[in-house]
């Protein structure tokens, strides 16, 4: 039982990171109906911003850590907006396939520019937050796990508030439902799309920092696997559905951790993806997704 709870905790904290990345995939899909493959590299850039800034703040302090986290989120929000403005906006009326291929191109561009600028060798992420282990009965909870879970929860609630309660959030939902109707009430769709990229990219940056704190070796290709998992999580939850992305991330992280702790650990990725396939066979639109009739 202790073993189970311990693994559940580990799984949820890994899943929380997937959830943070998955939100960006799902939100961008919501407003533009394509998968932004460069998203996983924004996650990587977030970790690198944290790496460089982390050396300029005192180590192991809460305020230093939060400062780095916030700066990385702002930096990546700007990067996300820049990518959208320079690359995706000119392709707004292009066929989806063209946009997808371009997204892969942007992804490769970021990865190899990363190798050029940061170098290909892995680096050790500085311990920006204080670290300690807490014992709750037989369970061991690391401060990093607590950090991951609390930061994720705060960001999820903040996002929910923005999307459900603010004017710009309502506009995001309106654009996602019907971009033409949105423009007819005076919404500037480009602005809303830009805002969506900023929001998703900031979440990915937070994910990047939290991931780097837990797996403290970072390199320019570090986004590939977590990005793929998060993409799967977004599909699993129902692409375009925000609570779905969070649920999918948590589920995938948990499954992966449990399989990783079992005798089949070598196959943990294969099993995680097999589960995805099985779930999608029964619920093709994802766990929380609904099929919507595409209106012309």
């Amino acid at each position: 039982m202790t073993e189970f709870l311990q693994q559940l905790l580990n799984g949820l904290s890994l899943g929380a990171i997937y959830a943070l990345i998955a939100l960006g995939y799902t939100m961008v899909y919501g407003v533009l109906r394509f998968i932004n493959f460069a998203h996983s590299d924004v996650f990587m850039v977030g970790a690198f911003i944290g790496y460089y800034l982390g050396h300029h703040v005192p180590e192991s302090t809460v305020w230093g850590g939060l400062l780095v986290l916030t700066a990385a989120m702002i930096g990546c929000a700007l990067l996300g907006m820049l990518i959208e403005r320079l690359v995706y906006r000119p392709l707004r009326s292009a066929p989806t396939l063209n946009v997808l291929i371009t997204a892969i191109g942007v992804s490769l561009l970021l990865e190899y520019t990363g190798q050029l600028v940061f170098g290909a060798a892995p680096r050790t992420f500085p311990p920006i937050f204080p670290s300690a282990n807490f014992h709750l009965g037989p369970l061991t909870i690391s401060s990093n796990q607590l950090l991951v879970i609390s930061v994720t929860l705060i960001l999820l609630f903040a996002l929910r508030f923005i999307v459900m309660r603010t004017k710009i959030g309502t506009a995001m939902r309106a654009v996602s439902l019907n971009p033409r109707a949105a423009s007819l009430v005076g919404i500037n769709n480009d602005f809303v799309i830009s805002f969506t990229f900023a929001l998703g990219s900031a979440m990915a940056a937070a994910g990047g920092i939290l991931y780097a704190l837990n797996y403290p070796s970072i390199d320019p290709l570090m986004g590939v696997m977590p990005g793929l998992k998060a993409f799967v999580a977004a599909i699993l939850g129902g692409i375009g559905n925000i609570p779905g992305a969070a649920l999918g991330g948590l589920l995938l992280g948990t499954v992966e951790t449990f399989v990783g702790g079992s005798e089949w650990s070598t196959y943990k990725d294969a099993i995680a993806f097999a589960i995805l396939i099985v779930i999608l066979l029964f619920r093709p639109a994802g766990l929380l997704g609904k099929f919507t009739v595409e209106k012309v």
Binding site: L184, V185, N188
Partner: protein, 242 residues
């Protein structure tokens, strides 16, 4: 033809294509402030295309759209809304997953003045009390007629100077159609709102409008005061069922 009134909207030599297909070829018409003007015509005549081009959803290949002295031809939709043209599109296009309340809030997206928003809301509820009873309901679960009321209400929240309605009678029970048309007349009369109405139901459109243009395959073939056109023999044969 002489124009005793100042023109609010003037469309001149408008030409619009979908790819290689021409939908409008050299269409001109104008609307004087405070009037209800209708565009009538058969399926595919280009009525929806004309409205979409005015509201910026489509780009004209050539021609001009002038609104209160300003050229709108190259502006994006959200800036045209900001100038005071609100378009109730064909098929209503309400935000189905959003509540009635949120739909109305989105209608006022460009309004900064809270007091003005509240005033417009009260006005919308005074015309369509049904909406007030359904505020928290998801808009997609409203009946067709209620959705049309919401679509008009949403447009009114934008505080338009010109309201464009594309087939408000489409898919609505006959009883509700007359209600909605009464409301359209009421909005025009009590509020002085200028209205451009597109309708397939020519009889109804000619009854409530001051002036009408008849479109046929992307061209204006007839134009005149509505009461006159109601008795026009050509029009009677083609659109009013003899």
């Amino acid at each position: 033809m002489d124009w005793p009134l100042t023109q609010m909207l003037t469309v001149k030599n408008l030409e619009v294509c979908y790819g290689a297909i021409s939908a409008l070829g050299d269409v001109s018409f104008s609307i004087a402030a405070g009037r209800i003007v209708t565009l009538i015509g058969a399926n595919g005549a280009g009525k929806t295309t004309a409205l979409r081009t005015i509201s910026g959803l489509l780009r004209a290949k050539s021609g001009h759209i002038n609104f209160n002295g300003e050229d709108l031809t190259r502006l994006p939709p959200h800036q045209i809304v900001a100038r005071g043209i609100c378009h109730v599109p064909e098929g209503r296009m309400i935000f189905s997953n959003l509540s009635v309340d949120e739909n109305l809030a989105m209608g006022a997206y460009l309004q900064r003045d809270k007091a003005r928003i509240a005033q417009n809301r009260d006005y919308v509820f005074s015309i369509f009390p049904r909406l007030k009873e359904r505020l928290t309901q998801a808009a997609g679960t409203l009946s067709g007629g209620e959705q049309q009321m919401l679509a008009i209400g949403r447009a009114l929240m934008g505080d338009p100077k010109l309201l464009m309605l594309d087939e408000p009678s489409l898919g609505i029970a006959p009883k509700l159609i007359s209600t909605i048309f009464e409301k359209i007349v009421e909005i025009n009369r009590n509020h002085g709102l200028t209205i451009l109405l597109v309708e397939q139901n020519a009889r109804l459109a000619l009854e409530i409008s001051h002036e009408a243009y008849v479109l046929e395959t992307g061209r204006v073939v007839l134009h005149g005061p509505s009461p006159e056109l109601r008795t026009n023999p050509e029009l009677k044969a083609a659109y009013l069922g003899g």
